[in-house]
Structure formats: structure tokens, C-alpha cells
């Protein structure tokens, strides 16, 4: 099968944002996303997932480069100041161009 270039946006942030994030992704037109639980440490301290609101989630969105940028911009604007959060992009190849 032939492959097509897309961008993978990965967001690691406080678990408490999950619902808001999903709403934002839907609004901004993300074709889909995958979420997994995580823990970690960053500029805003240890997030050990030992206590209710204390865990992280790891969200992945495969889409075109422009949308990935848009989503990242939106998240930075709305949540970066007050929530633990990290975003990064990487290049991936997908098999169905129409899906992403």
C-alpha cells in the first residue's frame, strides 16, 4: 500500500483537561484522536498519578500539518498558562489519505 505524509501531534497534559480537550479537538475538526493515561515530571513538577486529579494523559492526533499547528496554538492560548502541558509534532506516514 502507498503511504502519505501527515503530522502527529502529541499532547501531554493534566488528566483533568481530558473532556475540554476532546471538545476542542472536535471543534477544531480533528479527524480522530487516541488517549492513554500517563504520569511524569516537567517544569510544573511531579505528576505521579497517585491521586485523583494528579495524573497526566497523552493525546495523539494524526492530521495535516496545518491543523496540527492550529490545535497546538489553540491549546497554548487556552491552557498553557495554568495547566501542566507539553505539545510536540512529528512526521508520520499513513495508509489512507482520506482518513486524516
Amino acid at each position: 500500500m502507498q503511504t502519505h505524509q501527515r503530522t502527529l501531534l502529541t499532547v501531554i497534559c493534566e488528566a483533568v483537561l481530558e473532556h475540554k480537550l476532546e471538545q476542542a479537538l472536535e471543534k477544531l475538526g480533528a479527524p480522530g484522536w487516541t488517549i492513554a493515561d500517563a504520569r511524569g515530571r516537567g517544569g510544573r513538577g511531579v505528576r505521579s498519578a497517585g491521586w485523583d486529579t494528579e495524573g497526566n494523559i497523552r493525546v495523539e492526533v494524526i492530521c495535516n500539518r496545518e491543523l496540527a499547528q492550529n490545535i497546538a496554538d489553540y491549546l497554548h492560548e487556552h491552557y498553557y498558562a495554568n495547566f501542566a502541558m507539553v505539545c510536540y509534532l512529528s512526521a508520520v506516514e499513513v495508509f489512507r489519505a482520506d482518513k486524516f
Binding site: 493534566e14 483533568v16 475540554k20 498519578a49 497517585g50 485523583d52 486529579t53 491552557y79 495554568n82 495547566f83
Partner: protein, 313 residues
Amino acid sequence: MGLSDPVVLFFLLGFTASLLKSELKLPASLYETLSILLLLAIGLKGGVELAKQASWSLLGQSVAVLAMGVVLPLLAFPLLRVFGFARADAASLVAHYGSVSVGTFAVAVAYLAAQGIVFEEYLPLFVVVLEVPAILVGIVLAKGIRRDTDWKALGHELFLGKSIVLLIGGLLIGWIAGPTGVKPLEPLFFTLFKPLLALFLLEMGLIAASQLGSLKRYGVPLVVFATLMPLVSSVAGAGLGVALGLSVGGVAMLATLAASASYIAVPAAMRMAVPEANPSLSLTASLGITFPFNIVIGIPLYLQLAQWLAATL
């Protein structure tokens, strides 16, 4: 002193293990399960009582208790501002302390039972009543009554949060099913109440001690607040209890409720509604200081206060 009660000992075990950096850890889902069972048990108990004696006077008492939940945070807020806390942080703190801790309530239930002291069985109702108002006060204190607050989303968050739904759900089920209907549920919710509470406190000890790490970052003012606030609130709660004509046990329970600080419902709500408040500050205070303080020292003290008031007045 409550120190030799096994549930307090379980708390101390968790607390010590965590301080010694033991690798003891309870599965997250056990903690969740235990808190669900405690919330349901408290709700059911209150509901069964409502089935026996719902009345207008009870409604009046509830309104008075609700008023206390609004007034205490309003009084504490300016004080915290004077002590140099940022607006959002001060608002978040008073929201935590104006609301209640179901874990603390459960320990008081067990403590009074061990002492053979009865209290008005409908007191769980006041847990429900006190849960929400302080959160609203805190939000308004933080943001003013601004147009851009999404009150609909907020109301949803507040009234459909886990603890409120389980407490009210338990209340309604107890109320509808009544004493005989609830009977077959007793082996889990009543007979096992104390050992389940002990396990819950083991986990709370682990968590409470892990909060102490951030203590030095916030320093003395926070410690002072987190020990004085419950003492002052307990006097207010006890006073209200006496004014409402509660029994000695009831006065002690209401004092405990007033003195307790939320660490479940309020943190979650404030995180979304006032994200600029530092969540670790409030949690360190309520979970790292006030909760242990109430469990180990506070509750026996509040009972003595209630007994002293009954003897004096």
C-alpha cells in the same frame, strides 16, 4: 484521645510508611471503591432517617447549616488576603474549608460510636448541604460575578460531581427503600463500615504524608491557617449546633463538619473554575495538615467542646 482507635492507627500507619518512603501503595481502584462505599453508606444512613422523620424543622435546620457554609468562607477570605495570599489562592482555600470532608465525617461517626455517644441520625443530610455552597462562594470571590463564567457548565460540575451524586443518591435510596428495604444492604454498608474506613484511612495516610513535601514551599502562614481555621470553624459549628438544639453528639458532629476541609469535590471543581489558583497549595493545607489534625486531635477536641457546652449552657 482517639489515638488508639484502630482507624486512626491505620491512618498513622499509612502516614508513617509514606514518610519513611516505603513502597506501600494501595491500588487506585481500591481507594475509589472505598470512597464510593463510604459516600453511599453515609447517604443511605441519612436517607433511612429521613424516611422516619422528614419535617419542616429539619428543612429550617438545613437552611441554617447552609448559611454557615456561605458565611465562614466570606469571613476567612479577607484574612487570607491580609496574610499575603493571592486572590485566586485565597478564594480556593476558603472554598476548601467552607465545604466538608466525608472522610473526616466518617471518622467522627466511628469515634462517637466507639464512645457510645449517639447523634441525630439525619446529620448526613448536612454533609450534602455543606458540600456545594462554599465552592460557589470561592468562585465568586476569585472572579467576581463575571459574565464570562460558564455558570451552566459549573452548575453541572458542582451538582453532578461524583460525591454529590453518591451522597444524594444514597439519601434518596435510603429514603425510598426505608429501614426494612435497606436491611439486606447492611452487611456491606454498615457492618463493614469501620474496617472499610480503616483501609480508606490507610490510603489517606499515604496521600496526606506525600503532600507534606510541598509544605516548606508554602511555609508558616499556610500551617497556621490550616490548624487555626478548623478550630475557629468548629466553634462556629458547635455554636450553631447548640442553637439548633442538637444533642451533644450532634453538636460534636456539626463542629467536625465545620472544621473539616474538602479534598475531593472542591479541588476538582476549583481546578476547572479557577485554574489560576495553585491546586497544590489548597491540597497541602486540607489534606496534608487539616485532615490529619482533625483525625488525630480535632475530633476528640470537638466532642469535649460539645460536652463542655452542654454542661455550661
